[in-house]
């Protein structure tokens, strides 16, 4: 930005911050003229117009600029009136006058000419607005503004910054501003002393400034920058390792969730259920259905989907068990084929009844975005919730299997069916409940997966192979094995991925499992005792 730009930005700060000085509204013809200039100029010229609007001192300037940045400032074609678009969905848009703020109701999309904005204008606008925010009484908005300024400081602002830093009370805002100033000094003035400020910073703009400085002609500056970069690299290495571990755990937790239901139906009951993936899919569709029933409350719908998804999948599972699997007891190949058929039927059913298109499942606000540990390491929230959810589901299942009567009966029936029956356990009932439990847990996996992947008819197919892989690798019939296998396969995959690429990483994991199964056919934790031999 040129000097005129900086000056007008300064002017804007003065004018917008003290409303008493700027209550005077620009005459409407002038407002009309400014907006017309904005509407009719090219992207390159719009920058100047934006600064003119910012410097005009009009109290509506901020509203205009914010609307413009959001692509919501428009002109009505037939009347030439400037409007702010309130809702831009569908064929008729809700608008209000940009100059008077009066509502104009719905106007056909045909008649609205949006004043176009692009990325570079948007970041220009952002830095103009953040300069204003720097003086806001709210500490959070000051911090966001200060952070946004890194790499965006210009000559005019640089002169002001030392005073702002002096006056600042919150230490993180002060730090961000100091960094912003240092980045400016390194980049624009080649200031060696500023390098020291950046030496510990994990901010990417700071790193970019240093990397550019390394390439500079001044050898002293280059050397200092190089040294600072080395110390940053050290810190980054640790952060990247932590990040990879987190990625691994999160992929692992997805695998555990998908596989743990199968660990019960396949691992404990010995039923090869190829429709397991579709039970996961049903859970995901339940989440979607819940969100349709409770529009506007995606969070509540998601929480209610946990029991609902469990029930839907459990009932579907029981239906499959009663109609198909119980008739094929002891014939694994036929069970495999029959359940594979069931899986195709369920997929096509969803396609025909609901839609072949993927459904949108909304992520509630408290699950989007990430938690920033430091500037190089932020953990995405949706994954964190999935990790937590997987652990809770696992703990719940362990409790059921170890501490309840049902768990005892399940273990008894799987170890020795005839003996258990002669002790008075109703084996058929136990079968139904166990299969229902395993299927219900698959439904829970679906609820969680709806937050990180596409909810569509093919959802289940993508997870069935992985699920079997995890169960077999972990040792059939062992829940702990499933947990460990899932987490370790996830971590191995994520360690390999940056190095080998996603396709090769997946192949390498499969090769690893094949070799492993050759050595230990019963997986990580083989079942011991007579039951295992049967």
């Amino acid at each position: 930005m040129g000097i005129t730009g900086s000056l007008s930005r300064l002017l804007l700060v003065c004018l917008l911050l003290w409303p008493a000085m700027a209550t005077a509204q620009v005459d409407d013809p002038e407002a009309q003229q400014l907006l017309t200039a904005l509407a009719e100029s090219s992207f390159a010229e719009k920058k100047d117009v934006v600064n003119r609007i910012a410097g005009s001192g009009d109290e509506r300037a901020r509203t205009w600029l914010e609307a413009f940045a959001a692509n919501k400032l428009a002109r009505i074609e037939s009347t030439g009136q400037f409007v702010i678009v309130l809702s831009n969905r569908g064929r008729n848009w809700d608008v209000e006058s940009a100059t008077t703020g009066e509502s104009l109701g719905e106007v056909s999309r045909r008649d609205i000419d949006t004043i176009r904005v692009n990325n570079s204008l948007r970041s220009e606008l952002e830095s103009i607005l953040s300069v204003i925010d720097l003086k806001s009484p709210d500490e959070d908005s000051r911090l966001t503004a200060a952070r946004a300024l890194r790499g965006n400081v210009d000559d005019g602002l640089a002169d002001q910054l030392p005073d702002l830093i002096e006056a600042e009370t919150a230490s993180d805002v002060q730090l961000a501003l100091t960094e912003a100033l240092a980045i400016y000094r390194v980049e624009e003035q080649g200031d060696k002393s500023a390098v020291a400020v950046l030496s510990g910073s994990l901010n990417s703009e700071a790193r970019a400034a240093l990397q550019n400085a390394v390439r500079s002609d001044d050898p002293a500056l280059a050397a200092a920058a190089n040294k600072a970069l080395e110390s940053i690299e050290q810190k980054l290495k640790f952060n990247r390792a932590a990040e990879t571990l987190y990625f691994g755990l999160s992929l692992g937790s997805v695998l555990v969730l998908a596989a743990i239901g199968l660990a019960i139906t396949f691992g404990v009951m010995g039923v090869i259920n190829m429709a397991h993936g579709e039970l996961i899919m049903l859970g995901a569709y339940t989440t979607w259905g819940m969100q349709q029933l409770l529009p506007g409350q995606p969070g509540l719908a998601l929480i209610l989907s946990i029991p609902a998804g469990f029930l839907v999948a459990a009932l579907a599972g029981i239906a499959i068990e009663r109609t198909v699997i119980q008739h094929l007891k002891g014939r694994p190949l036929e069970t495999l084929l029959a359940t594979f058929g069931v899986s195709l039927i369920l997929q096509q059913l969803v396609r025909t009844v609901i839609s072949p298109l993927n459904r949108t499942v909304i992520t509630p606000d408290w699950m989007s975005g990430s938690v920033m540990i430091n500037e190089a390491l932020s953990l995405t929230l949706n994954r964190m919730y999935v990790i937590g959810f997987a652990l809770v589901v696992f703990a719940g299942l362990m409790l059921i299997m170890r501490k309840t009567r049902l768990g005892l009966e399940v273990r008894a029936v799987t170890q020795n069916r005839a003996m258990a029956r002669s002790m008075g356990i109703k084996a058929t009932k136990v079968d139904i409940l166990t299969f229902g439990l395993g299927s219900g847990v698959a439904g829970l996996a679906g609820v969680a997966l709806s937050q990180i992947t596409n909810v569509g008819p093919n959802l289940g197919q993508n997870y069935i192979i992985d699920s079997f892989m995890v169960v077999v690798f972990g040792g059939v019939g062992n829940l702990w094995g499933t947990l460990l296998a899932g987490l370790s396969l996830g971590t191995i995959n994520q360690l390999l991925e940056p190095w080998a690429g996603a396709v090769l990483a997946k192949i390498l994991v499969l090769v690893f499992i094949i070799l492993f199964i050759q050595k230990r056919p019963r997986g990580l934790f083989p079942q011991k005792g007579r039951a295992a031999e049967g």
Binding site: D113, R351, N358, R359, S368, S378, G456
Partner: protein, 432 residues
């Protein structure tokens, strides 16, 4: 008058009445629609089937073509590539359709190609593709690489000043060929190999954490970085979600996509994606009356107020209208006559201009770059000053830069080598 004559008169009267009847109910023109209605591709292709039905309905309401009504014949190849060939054979041999509109993925087109050529059918293919192909029987109404990928890269290089490039794609023929073309193009423009990162992921990839983190790392060297994405299908949704979650802002690292349109965006909250780019030849937000009329018709046809339109739909709109014009011009639906008549036919597109069928069976299109908006639409930020003619053989691949395609008589050749001066200069084509 002999009895013979009586009989003759009677017969001719009968024939007359029959032919009078048949003027009203002459054989309809059969239009084959070959789009997957089930399986993975149903998400994209089923809308195209509906688009075709809408266009046919409209044409019939206007009296059909040459006084004949059009009859759609819909088949479902179920996202199964070999089944595409079988269904194409069924359409041409059994149903005797006059023309086929269909296919989405390149691999399905490659599977249909020999059938259409053997049975001398007509196929209109509406999706952007990797080029390196020209068939006498196929009309490519989607974009060739020089109508989408190359202008998009030019925009990033010249207008945004991008110096470092991530070429990310799904692992199959279209992304691999496009990226090969782009890599050569970038290197010719002086980009060093260190500044290009190429990454492939399987279909339906959903775990993007480490790749997105890699992109972030690659982009933090101080040089302006952009991602050129040929990621296909629903893998885009988790990809964009991960971008948003890891806080990659369009102002820092813009992503320009060639396979993400309004339809794909309708599955995600686009709030955090504002400013990421896509290159197409049509956007639903384009400000032209033809487009608004098309949207109105589409909303009415689907009965859904929030129904979206996209680029391949426009390609079918253009292709269908070109076919209609060509049949009118030829006066018949005979395949040979239509093939000759259609070259040079110009019909309005939806962006306010005209599309012309070129001798290489590709069409002229404007190239638009749009930024994603918070309402799931694109806002056009740049467009080519005039339309661009599709190039079947890329100028940036060693085997194909000497080839041209011209299906007019007397040349009638899809791969004429201008260096050797002979037809059939086989190019080294990326196989699938």
């Amino acid at each position: 008058m002999s009895i013979k004559k009586h009989v003759k008169l009677g017969l001719s009267a009968l024939a007359l009445s029959v032919s009078l009847n048949s003027v009203a109910a002459e054989d309809p023109i059969k239009v084959g629609i070959l789009h997957s209605l089930s399986g993975t591709m149903a998400i994209s292709e089923s809308t195209l089937k509906d688009t075709m039905l809408m266009l046919i309905e409209k044409q019939n309401a206007e009296g059909g073509i040459l006084g004949r009504q059009l009859e759609p014949v819909v088949v479902d190849p179920a996202s199964n590539w070999p089944l595409f060939a079988e269904k194409a054979r069924e359409l041409l041999a059994k149903e005797k359709v006059d023309v086929i509109f269909g296919n989405w993925t390149s691999v399905s087109r490659k599977s249909v190609l020999p059938v259409v050529e053997e049975l001398n059918g007509l196929l209109f293919y509406p999706v952007q593709y990797e080029g390196e192909e020209s068939s006498e029987n196929v009309f490519y109404t989607g974009a060739a690489p020089n109508q989408q990928a190359i202008p998009a890269v030019d925009y990033l290089m010249n207008e945004i000043g991008v110096e470092r490039w991530v070429l990310a794609g799904t692992d199959y023929v279209y992304p691999r060929t496009t990226n090969k073309i782009l890599e050569t193009y970038l290197k010719d423009a002086g980009v060093s190999a260190d500044d290009i990162m190429i990454n492939y992921t399987p279909f339906g990839h959903s775990n993007w954490q480490s790749i997105v983190s890699d992109i972030k790392k690659f982009g933090s060297t101080g040089k302006k970085t952009a991602v050129v994405s040929t990621i296909n299908g629903d893998a885009n949704v988790p990809f964009y979600r991960e971008l948003a979650n890891q806080g990659i802002d369009a102002a820092d690292i813009p992503v320009v996509a060639f396979s993400v349109g309004e339809q794909e965006l309708s599955g995600i909250d686009t709030g955090p994606l504002v400013g990421h780019l896509a290159a197409w030849n049509y956007f639903m937000s384009v400000d032209s009356d033809a487009n608004y009329d098309f949207i109105d018709a589409w909303v009415e046809h689907t009965g859904k107020e929030d129904a979206v339109t996209n680029d391949p739909m426009e390609a079918h709109y253009i292709g269908f209208n070109m076919y209609v014009e060509a049949v009118k011009k030829a006066g018949t639906t005979d395949v040979e006559a239509v093939k000759d008549a259609i070259i040079g036919v110009a019909v309005p597109n939806l962006t306010g201009g005209y599309a012309t069928m070129m001798p290489n069976h590709h069409i002229t299109k404007p190239v638009l770059i749009g930024e994603i908006q918070d309402n799931g639409q694109f806002s056009v930020v740049w467009e080519t000053p005039s339309t661009v003619a599709g190039d079947a053989w890329s100028d940036f691949l060693p085997g194909s830069k000497d080839l041209i395609s011209d299906w007019r008589k007397p040349m009638k050749c899809g791969n004429f080598n201008v260096v050797t001066g002979s037809c059939g200069g086989k190019a080294e084509v990326a196989s699938n």
